[in-house]
Homo-oligomer: 191 residues x 2
């Protein structure tokens, strides 16, 4: 059985855990109060806000070596809602990968609102999780876990494409925040 | 009747003209061989590849003053298919707007493949055109023309959001080029 640790127990952490559990994986959570917890999962989902990534790297970085580590963040400037806080052309995931050189870092789940993970649908379409990263085997593992949970997942390219995934996630958040779309909608991926 | 000039007569130019004609607009085309043509439309769609924008600015810039000018380009580096050729954080549309300070420059149609404009559908979903720009009235005009043609259209924000629309267009092109999606699919926008 696949063993997964999810950092964070908010809407996204719960929704992602729901998908992976449905697919037959064993999931445990680590919350912000669980100082010194053991990271037992082979796949680790960081379902936390962007500013919490650094704390996790500091507290758990050594334990994350060798593991598949999934960054789901959208690093918005929430004061202006008009830009990201990562350098232009870069991504939160690229920053994280640089800080975790011994981990297999992926981007995923940042373009799917929690409700679309929980219901498995964006409108009439099955929810598709886009996954980017430089480790093809790690991507295939995560895609398999997601598909086992009843959703679709696609390899969206190399770690560089995390920039485009974060742009997509940002755009989707601005559309929902301005009520152009609902939090149960967003971008569906159609073959 | 709305009067529209479309630069370019390729797949995109024809598909866009089809939507706008269906909506009751009068559409004429200017091709690369039509040197010195008069730009009669109140709305001008630049349905040309990114490298052709500068030639159009030079040849027709004065005639575009006061008009709504729509940039549809995805400024890919087609040698690498791994980056855009515009500066990081910027967009083709922002560059164009700087060169046409007297025009009302918008981004649109770069996130919808030609086939989805021609059929009006992305999978089961009605095709949605995302429109960005700083001129609210110009955006409302273009959105109305598109909706009259049977598609959906949404205001995706200010000219700054052209960066995110180009990231989305780029990602969609890489997904289609790597056969993860088809050229009749892509990102549907779900309310």
């Amino acid at each position: 059985m696949s063993s997964i640790t999810v950092f964070g127990n908010g809407n996204m952490g719960q929704a992602i855990a729901g998908v992976l559990t449905k697919g037959g994986a064993s999931v445990d959570h680590i919350g912000s109060g669980d100082a010194g917890a053991a990271v037992t999962g082979d796949v680790v989902i960081l379902a936390v806000p962007y500013p919490a990534l650094d704390q996790i790297v500091q507290a758990y970085g050594a334990q994350l070596a060798g593991k598949i580590v999934v960054d789901i963040t959208n690093p918005l400037n929430f004061e202006t809602f008009d830009s990201l806080v990562v350098p232009e052309g870069s991504s939160a995931t690229a920053e994280l990968a640089a800080k975790l050189p011994n981990s297999r870092v992926l981007k995923a789940f940042n373009t799917t609102f929690a409700a679309t993970l929980a219901t498995g649908k964006v409108g009439q379409d099955v929810t598709t999780v886009l996954v980017a990263g430089d480790d093809a085997e790690a991507k295939a593992t995560l895609i398999g876990l997601i598909e086992n949970g009843g959703l679709r997942a696609k390899d969206a390219g190399s770690l560089k494409r995390a920039h485009e995934l974060e742009a997509l996630g940002f755009l989707q958040l601005t559309l929902a925040a301005s009520e152009k779309i609902g939090w149960t909608g967003g971008f569906a991926v159609i073959d």
